[in-house]
């Protein structure tokens, strides 16, 4: 395929998205390749289905393209923003009872067939993405890691976590907040993948 390999791979996410908004296909390619594994890892984890995750990932990146001009950098990595889009697409899919495809329809994208080889590759990529996410979590202090994992990953409420950990809800909130702060800093330090 027409792969664009140039210095865009070293650009910051915000610069890539600004370029995408100015119709720079190479910038989109660099952004897609940078974040695809983490998006797949998140979607495979949430859906438990590689095919569905791949389909939704296509929709997520179509939405990234549609929203690139509106991106406002909070930290150097746009990964939290992309994962936010993925989460929204997932919720919309469950709510509507079908795989969300608005962004792809809007862009006029054609359906793409998914064969067994591609499924295998997607699974491998998702595993790599899980590795990166897990690596970041592993660098948190144990109590913060546990709180972030329960609250953000497993979506358990603060009060329930407090009950399980036998501490106050306020303590849990602080641990989650500090843990997320550290993750943000990690993303800032890591810069582009």
């Amino acid at each position: 395929m027409n792969v664009r390999r140039d210095d865009r791979a070293s650009w910051a996410d915000a610069d890539l998205l600004a370029a995408v908004a100015e119709r720079d296909g190479g910038a989109f390619s660099a952004f897609y390749r940078r974040h695809l594994a983490e998006v797949l890892a998140y979607l495979v984890r949430e859906t438990g289905d590689v095919e569905l995750a791949a389909d939704l990932a296509a929709e997520v990146f179509a939405a990234v393209l549609l929203s690139a001009a509106r991106y406002e950098a909070q930290v150097s990595s746009a990964l939290p923003w992309v994962i936010g889009i993925a989460r929204h697409k997932l919720l919309m899919s469950w709510r509507r009872g079908r795989v969300e495809a608005r962004a792809r329809h809007r862009l006029g994208l054609e359906p793409v067939e998914l064969d067994d080889l591609a499924l295998e590759r997607i699974e491998q990529l998702a595993d790599a993405g899980v590795g990166r996410l897990e690596q970041m979590l592993e660098q948190l202090p144990p109590m913060e890691r546990e709180a972030v994992r329960w609250h953000v990953v497993d979506e358990v409420g603060y009060d329930e976590i407090a009950k399980q950990l036998n501490c106050s809800e306020m303590v849990v909130r602080k641990r989650v907040s500090r843990g997320l702060g550290r993750l943000r800093n990690q993303l800032t330090e890591m810069g582009p993948a």
Binding site: G48, A54, L66, G97, H105, L107, P111, G157
Partner: protein, 396 residues
């Protein structure tokens, strides 16, 4: 070298980037969650219900994300499957679980309904199904499939039912036992008409329309639909409507053959309701307000209804050829003049995830309340064709 899925997606998106995005006029919706919800009276819905419901089952097709932040007293419901894995589901009959949140509705008569939803159990969110045989005053829990991978329920009669989502499960004994079916890796939609069940199943990155005689689980793939992304399944009797990706197709013989109709409108993301002679379509237009269309000639041509205030539209249902309701960013709106205009319905603002009618005057709505409309799911009922809705209490 063959191009794989991820590369093909990348190439299409790169090409789309270089083409540029045609900007739409975008009207920001009102932040409905900031408004104070109105209070509706709470009544038992059997009161005042007169007309018999339509014979075909109706069902919710949408799903509310599980409540995250208000765990309530839990009931031991998680069971351990043979593999040792814990199944998060109420797999036995009993009382309505505390904190039950309905997400999907189906009915086969005026008084016989089922609701699939979730409830807290052992610190988790578990699948539960409740039913009523008296139109709402009393609900009991029936056994649910041993999975959280179902978000929708349909029953065709007292015995034969289906729960589906990422998985498809069926029962032939009113929910006493469930069997895992595998027509595809995910079931996007499922409709029952007469003695047949139709499902859009997702397999090998393609959608397929499957059908089976109800209760037999003998699934066959229906052909003649092209290779597009199938959606918008709507069935009544032997009439089947479905989007083929770019066209609306209709079958008059239960899916044995299809022909193309509705050529004047893009139908790649539409859902349908009503009847063959007055077919309503809700079509997504991306980020712009959604379109509601109406056909009075079996889908051959459509006219565009007036825009519902504050679109995009969350859910939609048609009661007759002239009456429909739609939820738009919180409030419910009703048209009594074939979509010429829309008026606010007497019901609270909510995240309305499902609207449906069983006949010209009776219908239900499932709404999400609380922060973001995602914390407390409630069932509402109308007996006046959607002019007003009243809350139906389910369990404790």
């Amino acid at each position: 070298m063959s191009m794989d899925f991820l590369e093909a997606v990348e190439e299409q998106l790169v090409a789309a980037t270089e083409r540029g995005i045609k900007r739409r006029r975008w009207r920001r919706p009102l932040l409905w969650m900031q408004r104070l919800p109105l209070r509706a009276p709470t009544v038992g819905i059997a009161a005042g219900v007169g007309a018999a419901l339509a014979a075909s089952a109706i069902a919710a097709t949408l799903t509310l994300p599980a409540s995250k932040s208000k765990p309530k007293p839990v009931e031991p419901a998680a069971v351990t499957a043979g593999t040792g894995a814990t199944v998060r589901s109420f797999t036995t009959a009993g009382t309505v679980p505390v904190g039950f949140q309905p997400v999907s509705f189906t009915a086969i008569s005026e008084f016989s309904w089922w609701l699939l939803g979730t409830a807290p159990c052992n610190g988790h969110t578990c699948t539960a199904i409740v039913r009523t045989t008296d139109g709402g005053p009393q609900f009991t829990r029936i056994a649910a499939p041993p999975t959280t991978n179902v978000q929708n329920v349909r029953f065709g009669n007292e015995d034969d039912g289906y729960a589906f989502g990422q998985q498809l499960w069926s029962t032939v004994d009113g929910g006493r036992s469930w069997t895992h079916q595998q027509p595809g890796s995910i079931v996007n939609d499922l409709q029952i008409a007469g003695n047949y069940v139709y499902a859009i199943a997702y397999r090998h990155s393609q959608t397929h329309l499957m059908s089976s005689a109800i209760g037999t689980n003998n699934w066959t793939t229906l052909g003649g639909l092209g290779r597009g992304y199938l959606s918008g399944l709507w069935v009544q009797g032997s009439t089947v409507f479905i989007n083929s990706g770019t066209h609306l197709l209709v079958s008059d013989n239960g899916g044995a053959s299809f022909r193309r109709v509705g050529g004047t409108h893009r139908v790649s993301d539409c859902t349908y309701d009503g009847g063959p002679q007055a077919l309503w379509a809700l079509c997504s237009t991306g980020m712009a307000p959604d379109d509601i269309l109406l056909s009075t000639n079996s889908g051959n041509t459509f006219t565009t209804a007036a825009q519902v205030p504050y679109g995009p539209i969350d859910s939609f249902a048609a009661a007759t050829g002239t009456v429909a309701v739609a939820s738009s960013q919180g409030p419910l709106y009703r048209s009594g003049n074939a979509g010429a205009s829309w008026a606010r319905v007497k019901a609270p603002s909510a995240n309305w995830i499902y609207l449906g009618f069983t006949d010209a005057t009776h219908g239900v709505a499932i709404g999400g309340f609380g922060k973001g409309g995602m914390q407390d799911s409630r069932l509402y009922y109308t007996t006046d064709g959607g002019v007003s809705y009243h809350r139906v209490m389910i369990g404790p």
